[in-house]
């Protein structure tokens, strides 16, 4: 984890409200290996307008080139300001943050599930897995409509088989991405591993299905963040006490530093 100056190489619109930004560390790079599932915390402006940094998953990274890519959707003021940055501009980022996904210990089929912008962190995981020699990597992408289906091509390029589900059926099957997952899980069972990132209700479904079919499952969460380094306690999520027990017995864990990736069974959904 370092606070570094990065130079924007490119910042291009890939869909009406989605942007992909490539940046390169100016000052000494992150210096530590970057893992899939980790994120960066971007300072948008130092002035009054937008105060907090914006956390964005790492979409791709190259250690040798000190380069980091992110893919983001413009949803509010911070991401809007970000979208107006241009190649050559300098960014102040803190990276890498968070724990990242734990790769499977042995070769096995892997299912990646991305919902909305959550697909970004799934993409870097796909790249990592395939580079590490995993050959059976399927990516399931869910989105509201075709306008919000992202990364499909990039995931293909990385070497994944990709299936799409949209709420309105404007692309892929009509329905939730968890349905795609359920049918796959029903046939493959515990021999595979599943990784998911996306909205809460989707993750909850994915965890429920994983448990049903005894599939190990890691989920990456998002929470409103202030510090990004575990200091402020803003970003907590309810997790089961190690001792197990009822959902009344919980510990708040920090998404930024103890996550964003958690074992699916750990999370208490409310």
């Amino acid at each position: 984890m370092k606070q570094i100056k990065a130079k924007i190489i490119s910042n291009s619109r890939i869909k009406p409200s989605y942007f992909k930004m490539v940046m390169r560390a100016r000052t000494a790079g992150p210096g530590e290996p970057v893992r899939a599932g980790q994120f960066i915390n971007v300072r948008v402006t130092g002035r009054a307008g937008v105060l907090l940094r914006k956390p964005l998953s790492i979409y791709s990274a190259c250690g040798k080139e000190h380069s980091i890519e992110v893919l983001y959707k413009v949803v509010g003021r911070g991401t809007e300001v970000l979208s107006r940055k241009a190649g050559g501009d300098e960014l102040d980022i803190i990276a890498p943050l968070g724990n990242g996904y734990e790769l499977p210990k042995k070769p096995q089929p892997v299912i990646l599930i991305g919902g909305g912008t959550g697909t970004a962190s799934i993409h870097f995981l796909a790249e990592t897995l395939i580079e590490a020699g995993f050959s059976d990597v399927k990516a399931l992408i869910g989105a509201r409509d075709r306008e919000n289906v992202i990364c499909e091509k990039d995931l293909n390029k990385a070497g994944c088989e990709v299936q799409v589900a949209t709420d309105d059926g404007s692309k892929g099957i009509r329905g939730y991405v968890s349905c795609l997952f359920e049918s796959l899980a029903a046939s493959a069972g515990p021999s595979m591993a599943v990784y998911a990132c996306g909205p809460r209700p989707m993750l909850r479904e994915v965890v429920r299905i994983s448990r049903k079919f005894k599939v190990p499952c890691q989920v990456s969460l998002e929470e409103y963040m202030a510090c990004g380094v575990g200091a402020c306690m803003s970003c907590v999520v309810k997790t089961r006490k190690p001792s197990g027990g009822s959902s009344k017995q919980f510990v708040y864990k920090r998404v930024c530093s103890e996550g964003p990736v958690f074992d699916g069974s750990e999370i208490i959904w409310e």
Partner: protein, 312 residues
């Protein structure tokens, strides 16, 4: 100019000698460790810990945070590891650094503060900050509806501070809430009861509403506002307080630059704390310490004290 390098920034805050007048604000810098890979703790005047309570606390439900124009509202609810775990696991890390360690404490009743101070008394810490801006169970009982804060009541403030004072020889900083009619009157009470310094301001009680589902954005309903939005009010309170009392004032509230820090110092603060600004730029305390030195060099000022309260 005969100014001894590395000397001119030192301040003495109620017995705590700091190498520079820039501190971290409680709750925004964790236990120091979390930021230690990003920030050189040795260069910070003093680290004030997250507020510690007798027992560990889970804190409030989420969402705990929302951004507002030039500010943030938080309602963490004092999630912390509790005093025992703090002493065992957090303090040993902090004492490795050449900074001053100030432990912020809070409780539900006066007795809690007394016990916490007692437990800290023999430890390797440089001072105690009494966060008396958290809900006061007694007051809550009175009004039924509204949680009164200890620091909203002169008499309770006096009693609390004097009882803690008897318990410890450590420098005592009393941190006040800005949610009062007359901040100087409360500060005077804390001073009379034996405080060594006054820290202000804590956050302003505030709220945001999600108009689509007609609910507060913050799960707890309301929270505390911090950041540049509150700076003009905090500055006025520091000025009012510094003119009324004789012990040092630690000023905070929305400091985001050297200029902001200097405003507080000129208004009467002997030191400043950085809270929300750390989230934006973790280097800020260091940059401000350097910035103050540059200002002093430029204006031929030998010691920080020369400009404390120098408002003409």
């Amino acid at each position: 100019m005969g100014v001894k390098k590395g000397n001119e920034l030192t301040v003495n805050i109620g017995g705590i000698k700091m190498k520079n007048p820039v501190m971290t604000a409680s709750g925004t810098f964790g236990y120091g460790e979390e930021y230690s890979r990003l920030v050189d703790l040795n260069k910070i005047g003093a680290v004030v810990t997250k507020t510690i309570t007798l027992q560990p606390r889970q804190g409030n439900p989420v969402p705990r945070l929302v951004e507002t124009p030039s500010g943030i509202i938080n309602s963490i609810g004092l999630q912390n590891v509790g005093i025992k775990m703090f002493l065992k696991e957090k303090l040993p890390f902090l004492i490795k650094f050449k900074t001053r360690i100030i432990v912020s404490v809070a409780g539900d009743k006066i007795e809690d503060y007394v016990r916490l101070a007692g437990m800290l008394d023999g430890e390797k810490v440089d001072g105690i900050e009494l966060n008396i801006s958290c809900p006061n169970v007694k007051g809550a009982g009175n009004s039924g509806k509204r949680n009164k804060l200890f620091a909203q009541d002169k008499d309770i403030t006096h009693e609390l501070v004097s009882r803690v004072r008897k318990e410890t020889g450590l420098p005592l900083i009393v941190k006040l809430t800005p949610n009062v009619t007359d901040i100087a009157a409360i500060a005077l009470e804390a001073e009379a009861a034996g405080a060594d310094a006054i820290a202000l301001v804590n956050t302003f009680q505030a709220m945001a509403i999600d108009v689509d589902n007609r609910k507060p954005v913050i799960a707890a309903g309301s929270g505390g506002l911090s950041g540049p939005a509150i700076k003009p009010i905090a500055l006025r309170m520091v000025w009012e307080t510094a003119r009324a009392i004789s012990i040092p004032v630690i000023g905070m509230g929305g400091i985001m630059s050297t200029g902001d820090a200097l405003e507080f110092i000129i208004a009467g603060a002997s030191a400043v704390s950085i809270g929300t600004g750390i989230f934006v730029n973790p280097q800020l305390p260091l940059e401000i310490a350097r910035g103050i030195r540059d200002y002093m060099t430029k204006n031929r000022i030998k010691t920080v004290n020369e400009i404390t309260g120098a408002r003409s």
